[in-house]
């Protein structure tokens, strides 16, 4: 009897140890992020003001700002989201709800997973040949947005499939029993219920895309631009490019700017994540199974 109790005690202790370990890992990760963010804020503090986000780049570090860069980044993200979301979700739904189980589907699935591991510079080179020259989009916001959409497509597809798969089978069956077509089941039930997961995948993808430098340098992002784009075919610069440029400048004043821009870029990412969490919460509230 006492031997059994000792065993129980030991297992409970293990359980607690695992919780402590998990918390430790979590805090370590958060501490790294927080240190990084606070360090950027501390270094960039003198430049973190309204002027910085409303002025263009300049040769004078104390007058230089990130207006063209953050507008460029935001527009690229809009294009990326508008392309990656419908294409990614459609692909995922096809694979999950429609595709027959055969070798073609298997090949597609393997390739989607593999695409997620392709280095981003390869996407940049592909886009340079395809979007910039073949489709004559030029070195434009549209080309950059499409490139990053390609880059995050596998992430969106995989996340959407997971979300769609999590919708309980009986919900589909109940709808079919009432005579709904496959499209009606998907559009009225499966998709709305999986929206939270889809959005999470989308935001993970966009958070990756927003910091990408290599592919947009490859397709020709500019370093100095002192006007705002009027169309999606205009030339552009983006936050990571602006930071990269400032870090490599001789004048130490530019490093303060780079830190401030880094803090704002991190802030933009956190804001995106915040919106996603809020949206997910709203979608979940509307679910009434």
């Amino acid at each position: 009897m006492s031997a059994m109790r000792a065993g129980v005690e030991r297992r409970k202790l293990l359980d607690k140890l695992f919780v402590v370990l998990g918390l430790l890992v979590l805090f370590a990760a958060l501490a790294v992020l927080l240190t990084l963010f606070l360090d950027l804020v501390r270094q960039g503090a003198p430049r973190l003001n309204l002027d910085f986000v409303t002025s263009y780049a300049s040769r004078k570090p104390e007058q230089a700002g990130i207006l063209a860069a953050w507008v460029g980044t935001s527009l690229i993200m809009v294009v990326t989201a508008c392309v990656a979301m419908p294409v990614g979700v459609a692909a995922a739904i096809y694979l999950e709800e429609y595709a027959p189980r055969n070798w073609i589907t298997a090949v597609i699935e393997i390739n989607v997973t593999n695409l997620a591991g392709v280095p981003s510079i390869i996407y940049g080179l592909l886009a340079l040949g395809l979007f910039v020259y073949k489709f004559s989009l030029g070195q434009s916001i549209l080309a950059a947005g499409l490139t990053l959409a390609l880059l995050i497509l596998p992430i969106v597809i995989v996340a959407t499939r997971e979300a769609v798969r999590a919708v309980p089978r009986p919900i589909r069956e109940a709808a079919y029993a009432l005579g709904a077509t496959r499209w009606e089941v998907t559009a009225h039930h499966v998709l709305p219920y999986s929206m939270g997961g889809v959005l999470t995948g989308m935001i993970i993808g966009l958070s990756r895309a927003i910091g990408e430098t290599a592919p947009i340098i490859t397709i020709g992002a500019l370093s100095f631009i002192a006007f705002l784009p009027e169309s999606l075919l205009d030339p552009f610069t983006a936050m990571p490019i602006q930071m990269f440029n400032w870090v490599s400048r001789p004048d130490p004043g530019f490093r303060v700017n780079a830190a401030a821009a880094g803090a704002i870029l991190l802030g933009m990412t956190l804001l995106m994540n915040g919106i996603a969490i809020w949206l997910r919460y709203r979608f979940r509230k509307r679910m009434n199974w």
């Binding site: 263009y56 780049a57 300049s58 040769r59 527009l75 809009v78 294009v79 989201a81 508008c82 979301m85 419908p86 549209l142 559009a187 009225h188 998709l191 709305p192 929206m195 020709g220 992002a221 500019l222 370093s223 100095f224 631009i225 002192a226 006007f227 009027e230 169309s231 999606l232 075919l233 030339p235 440029n245 870090v247 490599s248 400048r249 001789p250 004048d251 130490p252």
Partner: protein
Amino acid sequence: MKLTSTVTVAALLAAGLGVAPRDAAAQQTIKLDGSSTVFPISEAVAEEFQIAKRGKVRVTVGISGTGGGFKKFCRGEIDIADASRPISKSEMDVCARAGIQYIELPVAYDALTVAVNPRNTWVDTLTVAELKKMWEPAAQGKVTTWKAVNPKWPAQPLKLFGPGADSGTFDYFTEATVGKAKSSRGDFTASEDDNVLVQCVESDVNALAYFGYAYYAPNATKMKAVKIVNSKGQAVGPSPQGVLDGSYEPLSRPIFIYVSTASAQRAEVKEFVEFYLSKGAPLVEEVKYVPLAKHAYDLALRNFRAGKAGTAFGGRNEVGLTVEELLAREGRF
């Protein structure tokens, strides 16, 4: 249903941005691209020019490196190429095949600075022969201590730092010291980021590095610039004065812009280049490069107005050529 409408709205929004009415006539864009060495100057001129034109003309400046800039230039994608060295033979051929002609204009000097740690007590001056001994390909694996370069110096390790092989600075330095462009030992620490070179020299007593004067000037208190013995036997440190009077040689070099003759027909490009050559000098100084002499700018301006096309170099770099000489030469393609 909600989902489809969100997507539609987003798509419409994107499309709306794309077809937003634009006043093409009032908004001409001048495109520059190329060397990161020339970038700060072009950026400063572009900034001031746009202010002077009250936003009527748009100027963009990219950084693709001198070679990358010429590639775009010879494809006709940009109006002006920023170059930290003259156009090469193969680039001339590509441009010729594409039917692109250019006006070569020196816009400033850069003084390559050889720097050591401030605690380095043994080196104040270096001869070109000593630099060659340190950097030539034959030194690889053999010249590894300061003593090996000059017996009077201590037997401490010689740690060399320099820009990477894609840089125009590397091309010029090897040409000026070893005697052949791109001919250098391979066992030095290379970095494309000059700030890294600066930090290495600041922290290592045995270090020696070279980079553009603009990277030395703001860090002058944290490192020691080595005086270089010129062809007249004088030891001269890097300074705007030494560059202008020609005594800091062979490590001072002109840097260029190449203007496409087709683009130069456009009024706004013409105005921009004239602005560059007539109002550029104080801006050049501000970003820590050395402006040309007044009469050299005038000469360049005259060449530009006369449409004097071609390169004075014929595809290979020459050390010690003065700006006046190169502006007076016949252009070649």
